[in-house]
Symmetry: D2
Subunit: 372 residues, 4 copies
């Protein structure tokens, strides 16, 4: 069953049966994990005392300064509740009437946010093709050319967004980001990066945050902490604070301004402490790599796309998928991309396996044992 | 300075100076407090393990069941990020093209949510007068009569919302809720209750949750936990689950569906445990009552409105306000309601003092000492 | 029955009975008249040949140039379908997230456009008091002061709109426009004028179009021709063409860009020819003045507000209203403004009588005879 | 130059040069024609007298009844200003939060309405492939299957819209409409038809209006008169009047309710009189067929798609295109569909030629002479 159409009632049934399994094999998503102990404890430690509400506390300021330090320039930071909020409000801030945002045809903003980016910006997404989940720069240029700035009827190009890491776990190289950014800049368009799995991409590239963003031409970043060990820690980062002024109102009007904003700040404070965030990402990427290696050795199984960050997409026999589910493994079947209709054979299925900071070597071994 | 127009930069300055004060006198808002230790610890305890994301975990289910138990009927529950989200999405779910939501002229939805309810429902608010921050039922009936269901030009009545406790800390009696509900029902309109300070109102009335809501005709409730000791715990409660079906999509499209939803569930779990929520509300109401009593005894000071829950609105000499600020007290001047232009004398100011679960008797005494 | 809540089915019945009356007494609205013969003939004359669509024909350009000539400066002109569209899109073009538009409490934008201005601008209206249907400048200043530019929670002032002539037929003097404009400018807000009855106001003041608009500080004008003898001719006029650039997209996205735009242009061409528009307005104002004089002489009848343009608001006995209706007079009862609850006695009713280019002296005499 | 990106200033220049050409060769669009004399005269004849405003006049009622007669069942009819409005409001009336409207990848709603359908319904379009500008039913079924009703993240299927005649001048056969409708119905989705060129399709099929719409499963129709000889006459037709109730408010809020609505009614009255509308469509289709025949005989020219209604898409040498332009022919180059990247050779261009009620045999002959 594809995860996107699992009816809530079925989910409940699944859930109720879960508790009977003693062997942990949770690969459904990195957001099935809880919070890393250091982050949870940092939050606990913050719970006393009083502080200014609505993002203006000492701790909020400290964490914003930490963002500037991490990105090696002064940035404007806005905490929001979800990755969808970060993406949608980022894109809303650069939209205009009749404007179009360009994204990959399998991007999260297009596939998994229930139209939130369109809703908040009263605008449309136009999808662009590209191998391995990444926008092809030439296809982007051709697509943008269909929406010139004078095109009252057709609509006009307004923004470009990329996902790093991508929806299928691949990662744009620095050169690939440059190539997309060049097309965006040549057309006068701002470039947004959906970094729900920012840390996973970062450690995969062994790049610095600055190198992977504004040094490549990224203007606005959705910086996600939730999938990498926080409870709920998402931020919009503007690399040019001058362009961030409207966001105060956009966020409040979107009902995304937390009163006790320091509960987000505290999580980020723990997240950044001693490079914890990078350690956690390295761990989950490593677990994914271990899974990848095991699958490549499994007869009848193969990878759909390269494993670069913390997601493994495998094509396995339907029988193997059922067997693994029967043994308690949690994962989702994944929809076949429209661009690759022949990806999977009749007796096969495409599955997504996501590792997280909480995945253990035993989890991986147990899962591979199910398949074998 | 009115709190609504404090510029961010000033806030920061204020904040930086705060740390020098050793005496805690934080009455700016109940959302300046952190999280109660039992709630924070409950959250910490939940951080391990894996669970289904997006509101479908065991714990989410358990807490939803707990809501049904508390309200003595099956309810549908939706966690969201903020009180504004709870209000705006609740109202969006019952809006219609050209529809009008009726609220008190000083309601939070009208005054303090940056247009969020209008934005999410593409609809308008119409304000209704009433003493002590409460909608006058006759004024409501008269106002609704101006927006009949056939009125294509003028717009049509669509919903009524009340705030319990109100923005000025008063509380609708059960009979008063009945009276508003009668008008709503007579006009076929759903009734929403903004319960950002639900617990404070509840213990003030010594009523049960059911008695204060659906037994009075309330259809949808914004149930707030944040102001009463949680970090971030807001829920939309539908008393008729049949009417909640669209909310799944409304919430997701609004970017308000948490992936690790159990971090909200865990807070509510702690909040409800052994009646903690009611104890906390009783405490803050008690502290407010103590403040009230002190102010009534203070020469030159008087109450603007009765103190019923955890907010005290006092009219004091400007000199006293300045003196208290100089001594480190944190509170906001409050805008004079348009309906009471002569409330405050030339040398006076209207201040709001909010108590919370974390307010101590010493805080109150210290503050009163500043005034005296 | 108030016109705003006449159900469609009743309207039909009313309409079917109309045809039996031989004496024309149509005072329901100036938009019950058809089109003036010169305008209708100008449209007929244009019907042949081919021309560029979407507002780019020779005739469109000619008429735009005519607007510039009439207003004594270069203006940008956008034809739209309705007065509501002109108002809503004008206001949308100057709105911002969390922004507020200030209007009179009985303004057409607030009372009679089904929320269209709010819908198109995702923003709110805040109403301001003032005698005789006109914004009181001091009340405006006080209201704006409640919405400072930093007020993230409360929302921020974004625009001011006035109606000229007003909803109750009065007219801002040039000084009165100046006074409102001063407040707007002092707060950095653009000023919009809803000129659905622009010509009626203009001839009442014996002012030039420039004197009544940009020379007073008006930035954007809804210029109406429909109520004064056109079929359908409404235009948005920007006095600073630089600020009009987004309107091309705002209008198209609002589905208000006519393909055969020259059918609007042709009407305006006839409308402006030899000052026809001013003659028509003078005629309807004159008919209103004649009605006014008759009512002042009628026992038991009196004026609710001064008659300045082409609308007469009279307070008459309910019996007289019924008698007039029985004799076939068409007019609407008008809702009692909330600000004047005691305007009308128990046995009385407030009626609105609107004259148009097509109203004759005989119509007026016939109507007065009904009352007498 | 593609017509979609013609900058306004260039248009003006084009236009100014037009007047020097004595030979009429206007094939840019059917909306470059004016109004047919019988329709223009009918409008003139209606200009006198008074009538109820806002769509409730005798004539409005009569024309609505005429629609019911033409469609052989009781229908609800709503006049609006533009074809974009008809489409956008129709689709808005059946949308829901997170909903998706399915359309052909080259549909007018997707390509030429500046995002208006998305804007009014706060929803998204998903495009479906299909040869000859027509939705492929199997591709539709596969696409819909990606958006199940439980899919909170992905969005859910909400409506299907087809264009008849299509954007490339082809026409769905009755069986083809059946096939699309079957897929829509099997998924519980309403079916909308964009009939901007309804009459042209109708006469091409020699079908009755009922046969081409509700008898095939069409629920809502955008019925266009503007392109076929009216000035401005567009209507939304609901085949189930029960489902039309919200449209009164949707239309008014969209600022699309005409006050002097009978100016639309009068045009439709003339349009329908003695089958004029069908005669006009037959004429323009006939002229297109004559063009087609000529092009097929022209060396170096060929058709891109079959000519079924009043649009001819021809692939001609760039040199021929330039020659025709130099001789004063007005037409647009057309963008190469993304699905047919190899449609046109390097030295060729794709042009669109649209005929109208006003096209003459001489126009066609003159144009063909330019090419030859």
């Amino acid at each position: 069953m594809h995860w996107r159409n699992v009816p809530p009632t079925l989910f409940i049934t699944l859930q109720l049966t879960l508790v009977h399994w003693c062997i942990s094999m949770f690969f459904a998503s990195d957001n099935w994990a809880g919070a890393h102990s250091k982050i949870a404890e940092r939050l606990l430690a913050e719970s006393g005392g009083f502080a200014t509400a609505y993002g203006l506390s000492d701790l909020d300021q400290k964490v914003e300064a930490k963002f500037s330090e991490i990105f090696e320039r002064e940035v404007a930071v806005f905490f929001v509740a979800t990755g969808s909020a970060a993406n949608s409000l980022s894109l809303a801030s650069v939209q205009k009437p009749g404007g179009i945002t360009f994204c990959h045809s399998e991007a999260h903003v297009a596939e998994d946010e229930c139209g939130s980016p369109d809703f908040f910006s009263s605008a449309r997404l136009a999808t662009v093709k590209g191998a391995a989940g990444k926008i092809d720069p030439q296809a982007l240029a051709a697509k943008i050319a269909r929406f010139p700035q004078d095109a009252v009827h057709h609509g006009r190009a307004a923004a470009v967004t990329i996902t790093q890491a991508t929806e299928i776990g691949t990662v744009y190289s620095l050169d690939e980001i440059d190539a997309v950014a060049s097309v965006a800049k040549a057309n006068g368009l701002p470039l947004h990066m959906d970094g729900a799995r920012f840390a996973n991409a970062l450690v995969a590239l062994a790049a610095s945050p600055a190198e992977m963003t504004w040094k490549r031409g990224v203007d606005i970043l959705s910086f996600g902490g939730t999938k990498n060990g926080c409870w709920c820690a998402e931020a919009i980062v503007f690399f040019d604070p001058e362009k961030a002024k409207e966001m105060h109102f956009i966020r409040k009007r979107a009902a995304q301004l937390f009163s006790k904003s320091r509960f987000i700040a505290a999580q980020f404070d723990g997240y950044f402490q001693d490079g914890l965030w990078l350690d956690l990402a390295r761990h989950s990427n490593g677990m994914a790599d271990r899974l990848r290696a095991g699958i490549e050795k499994t007869r009848g199984a193969r990878l759909a796309w390269p494993t670069i960050s913390n997601e493994v997409f495998a094509i396995i026999p339907k029988s193997a998928s059922k067997a693994a589910e029967d043994k308690g493994a949690k994962f989702y079947e994944w929809p076949i991309p429209e661009s690759q209709p022949d990806l999977v054979g009749d007796d096969e299925t495409l599955i997504r396996l996501v590792t997280s900071f909480a995945t253990t070597e035993a989890d991986v071994a147990n899962f591979l044992a199910c398949l074998g």
